[in-house]
Subunit: 191 residues, 2 copies
DNA sequence: CACTCCATGTAACGCGTTACATGATTAA
DNA sequence: TTAATCATGTAACGCGTTACATGGAGTG
């Protein structure tokens, strides 16, 4: 009931009724930057939400089990969504494999470490460009949509966050340059 | 073998032999900002690493099953660590519950939304202060340690990242102010 | 007719946390 | 001696991904 996950389904169903497949597509293309769900979660979750009366199948379409089965949110579902929105979000610092490797980087190959940071930099620099385009596109496309300001906020979050990472990568690569000649010599000296 | 997790154990054991309990403490106080392990993982993992010959118990201490059991990294363990360090880190954007709620925030209570952002702001502002202190303390305490530059880099990552979040929170709160009088009116209009 | 995309669903697995059980050691 | 802390370990659970099985519908 209070899993914290799969609430995205209820949120998206406030737009209009959707099938499991449509939900997956909608999640990837709207909240994909900071949320994801897989089919393996969506379909069972829809059944569960139906059993709880939070969503309801749009229409009985008889026998065929492979036809599109759209669900609409119910009043109880809206209530549940509001209740979830009222709760403060849990802040949990995610694991960061890049940082873990960097923490022990002296044990490894300095050149590869630098490469990894550089690749990370490019990844996030590209992501920033994508988000900027997506911000422009949304402002244009949903000019009058009442949800637009909130959507823009989530995009801005990505932009600021990723820009910070790019800055950090640049700073770190500079720092590594001053280090690598010595560090490389040290590698293999252990034990 | 290539789980990606619990490699922190091998990294920390390059410092000196440690018991499961000591590893947990060391993880929390060194890489705790971006990595975590629970006892439920550490103890079984040590057994597994021992079976693979990547770590070895420091000394046989006979019968008592509750006495400290320290493990040292082996040459094979060092080799495995280096191999892992060579692989590019996987970048996977984490789920962000705050952003998911913000995305659907128009369905909820505008005042509470603002509170959530404000609390988030304080959380990260505090984290930045803590990290700054910890950076200073480390520079002082491990002045001559060859790993120091890498440790500082991981701290800098946190500082830049969290500062960006604080900036975003401020920007977002401002934006919400221009919105809330209208948004609040809209709530409950659905259906 | 074959291929691809749309579409629903299940089963298995991986990984991580939490809760629990147990006991040694140390300090009030 | 009682409580807190140190210390090891297991079992259960939650949650999420991946792989698989199935089949409809449209297109070349």
């Amino acid at each position: 009931m209070s899993t914290g996950t799969t609430r995205a389904i209820l949120g998206l169903l406030t737009w209009h009724p959707m099938s499991g497949y449509e939900l997956k597509m909608a999640i990837d293309s709207s909240v994909g930057n900071f949320w994801s769900e897989s089919f393996g979660q969506i379909y069972p979750e829809l059944r569960r939400l139906e059993a709880l009366g939070l969503v309801t199948p749009e229409a009985e379409l008889g026998s065929n089990p492979k036809s599109k089965r759209r669900y609409a949110i119910t009043d109880a579902g809206r209530e549940e969504l509001r209740h979830w929105l009222d709760q403060p979000p849990k802040i949990r610092p995610p694991r960061n494999e890049l940082l873990l490797k960097l923490f022990f980087a002296r044990q490894g190959n300095a050149a590869l470490t630098r490469d990894h940071i550089a690749e990370t930099r490019e990844h996030y620099a590209k992501a920033v460009r994508t988000l900027r385009h997506s911000e422009d596109a949304m402002r244009e496309r949903f000019k009058a949509h009442p949800d637009l300001p909130y959507w823009i906020m989530t995009i801005r979050h990505g932009i600021l966050q990723y820009e910070a990472i790019v800055t950090w990568c640049d700073e770190t690569i500079e720092q590594l340059k001053t280090l690598s000649p010595l560090a490389r010599k040290n590698v293999g000296d252990e034990q």
